[in-house]
Amino acid sequence: MSDKVKVTIDGISVEVEPGTTILNAARQIGGEIVPPAMCYYSKLQGSGGKCRTCLVKVSKGSEKDPRPMPKLVASCRTTVMDGMEVENITSPEVVEARKGVVEMLLINHPLDCPVCDQAGECSLQDLGFEHGAAQTRYEFDRRTFERIDIGDKIQLHMNRCILCYRCTYVADQITDNRVHGVLGRGDHAEISTYIEQAIDNDFSGNVIDVCPVGALTDKTFRFKNRVWFTKPVDAHRDCPTCSGKVTLWYKGEEVIRVTARKDEYNEVEEFICNTCRFDKKNTSDWVIEGPRAIANTSVISSNHYETLKPLPVIQQNPALMAANKEEFERTKKS
């Protein structure tokens, strides 16, 4: 254990490998002391540092050099030192600064949640709910762009983009030839594919999953339903291209959407291929594993387990029925 370093976040200590970022140390602790991350994505190298929602205060630099850091730091890109003490939700300064960042992210965001497919699973919506003010102080026109189709399956709604760069890292790292990137500067910068070239790649659909907002959405799912009326079920298939491990989103008996499996930080467990995502929308294409665990604070869970009338696919499987019952009890308790 001696090579591990100790860091204390909001009074809770944890020992982590050297080189771990404050954010990942916080995730090892878990719970509400974990800073929100809109741009960092653990599976995408180089991501993070941009959105500034994960700001924290380092009140003690390390055992060797206890001086506090002069400015708030981006926890996703700052590595821990032994003896470091960090304040997140216990620091009014951090809470205030984060509120400021959320306000900045929202000034040009269209606030069209009622017609946005991401609503209900949007990190910005959650963040705005937790930190945002009820009223905007921004009294100018928001910047607007035309919607762009990136191929026939993905739509880019640039108005909603927060320029987290995640999708460009996917284009860089997951797909083998890059046709997708950032054009322009500042608040007039935009995500684009040159001359609206379609991204034609087996893994391009992952840009939808990494997008924290409703800027990149699945055209095959567009306006089909609100996510909180759908029921997520984990399933897999024997896929020659990817792991084939996905979440199916059911409406009634119909699979209306396929996504990768996302963890509590909204990150996918494994990237999936376009065939699994866009072309396999029958229950018969899949081996069903069980209901997807969704945080009980999420709106998605609000509709799931209030009755013991599970999906037909689940009813046929005793193990799934047991799991469903457990979820039901859990929801009722909280």
């Binding site: 993070g48 540092g49 941009k50 959105c51 500034r52 929602t53 700001l55 400015k71 708030l72 981006a74 890109r77 600064a97 400021g100 960042v101 306000e103 900045m104 992210l105 000034i107 040009n108 102080r137 921004y138 100018f140 927060i162 320029l163 760069y165 990137g181 950032v182 322009g184 500067r185 500042g186 608040d187 007039h188 910068a189």
Partner: protein, 453 residues
């Protein structure tokens, strides 16, 4: 007459050519360094000289050089930052236009000191004439044996390249510059790692301003100790100041650090006083990024001392009453200047130039620009002024690179010192369209110190 180290021969006809430059004693520093000094000796001289980076931040150059990592078998690079795009700053362009060999000579000596065999001069894309001038100078130096393989028989090899920049202010930020030099989009990198460890192509790199590199020439010629005798305290040597605005003699001046601001503005050796017999209202002392100060605070510190052209004296009083030497872009505003308009103009620049990576800078610069525009055109409200202060505060210190701070400071300082002028734009919207607030009390003698305790 003050001593001039960089511009001593600037008025000699033909000094832009190799032959004339050489006749005036040019390339002596290369001979001295390569023949009688070790690379570490050169670094030591630069340390002794107390030279501080002339690009804006004022970081000691010798110290920066000594931080350069030197792993075995990995090339090291020296990159000269000639992207000069800060509003109010035009000294590097002047130097490169008129005495390009000074920069080439500095690059050779500095590359030798750092052990770099390939060095780059990254020139702002719009400065095509200067790019041509430098390319010609490099060819001349190469023909004379000062560049290329085995320079002066010393065994030291150096190739020097000029790279036209991408045409964005942000590419002057050192890590954005390196990205751009690598052929990528010029987004600043997140530090650490610092360029000294992982810079150009992931190799240890030093980025220095044109003037910093040129200053190495007199330091090597005369010795670091001699150089350090000029100036005051930790502000040693000479500094190029780009003087502009409402003055009689705009231009680039080489000053000995320590000249008083008053002398610099009013003496005939430098700016020659305010143009058209007007009175001084305000000064932006170090390029658009530094806090603006009213006439009374730029001439005297709150303690009643004369303010001097040094790093320390200009920043005396911190953000409350001081400013910074920055890159030496000295912009003088007379009594007819409108501070609101000037602030709006600066914020328009930062809004246009933000790279857009960090949310506070991307969104906040545009927001400030819009609010300032509204104030300037008579549609503002009193709460807009506080809103600006708040938005500036939310950008400052919360971004990847210092452009966020550079955008916030001019706004915050203008409101701090000229709040009544902003309020006047709200209370007298019609008049503000036609006339100006004027000098008001901005040149009044400062209150006695007792009031500030």
């Amino acid at each position: 007459m003050a001593r001039r180290l960089l511009f001593e021969h600037i008025n000699v006809p033909g000094i832009n050519t190799f032959d004339v430059y050489r006749q005036q004693g040019g390339y002596r520093a290369v001979e001295r360094a390569l023949k009688s000094l070790s690379p570490d000796d050169v670094v030591e001289e630069v340390k002794k000289s107390g030279l501080r980076g002339r690009g804006g931040a004022g970081f000691p150059t010798g110290m920066k050089w000594s931080f350069l990592a030197k792993p075995e078998g990995v090339p090291r690079y020296l990159v000269c930052n000639a992207d000069e795009s800060e509003p109010g700053t035009f000294k590097d362009r002047y130097l490169m236009t008129h005495i390009p060999h000074l920069l080439i000579e500095g690059m050779i000596v500095s590359s030798y000191a750092l052990g770099a065999n390939t060095s780059y001069i990254y020139v702002r894309g719009e400065m095509m004439p200067q790019i041509r001038i430098l390319e010609k100078a490099i060819a001349e130096a190469k023909a004379a044996g000062f560049l290329g393989k085995n320079i002066l028989g010393s065994g030291f090899d150096l190739e020097l390249y000029v790279q036209p920049g991408g045409g964005a202010y942000i590419c002057g930020e050192e890590t954005a510059l390196l990205e751009s030099l690598e052929g990528k989009r010029g987004n600043p990198r997140i530090k650490p790692p610092f360029p000294a460890v992982s810079g150009l192509y992931g190799c240890p790199t030093v980025v220095n301003n044109v003037e910093s590199i040129a200053a190495v020439v007199p330091i090597v010629n005369e010795g670091g100790d001699e150089y350090a005798k000029i100036g005051i305290g930790r502000s040693t040597g000479t500094k190029l100041i780009s003087a502009s605005g409402n003055i009689n003699k705009p231009g680039v001046y080489e000053i000995e650090l320590g000249v008083s601001v008053e002398d610099f503005i009013y003496s005939d050796e430098y700016c020659g006083g305010i143009a058209n017999g007007k009175r001084l209202k305000a000064v932006v002392a170090g390029g658009s990024s530094v806090p603006i100060l009213p006439a009374n605070l730029i001439l005297k510190t709150v303690n009643g001392e004369n303010r001097l052209m040094t790093y320390e004296s200009l920043s005396d009083g911190g953000f409350a009453t001081g400013t910074m030497l920055g890159s030496g872009g000295f912009v003088v505003l007379d009594e007819d200047a409108c501070i609101v308009r000037n602030t709006w103009n600066f914020s328009r620049f930062y809004h246009h130039e933000s790279c857009g990576q960090c949310s506070p800078c991307r969104e906040g610069t545009g927001w400030m620009e819009k609010v300032l525009h509204r104030l300037e055109y008579g549609h503002g409200t009193m709460s807009d002024i506080d809103l600006l202060v708040d938005v500036a505060k939310k950008i400052e210190g919360n971004t990847i690179c210092p452009l966020g701070d550079a955008a916030a400071w001019p706004v915050a300082s203008a409101i701090r010192h000229f709040r009544d002028e902003f309020e006047w734009h709200v209370t007298h919207p019609q008049e503000a369209q036609k006339g100006n607030y004027g000098l008001a009390h901005y040149a009044d003698p400062l209150p006695a110190i007792a009031a500030t305790v």
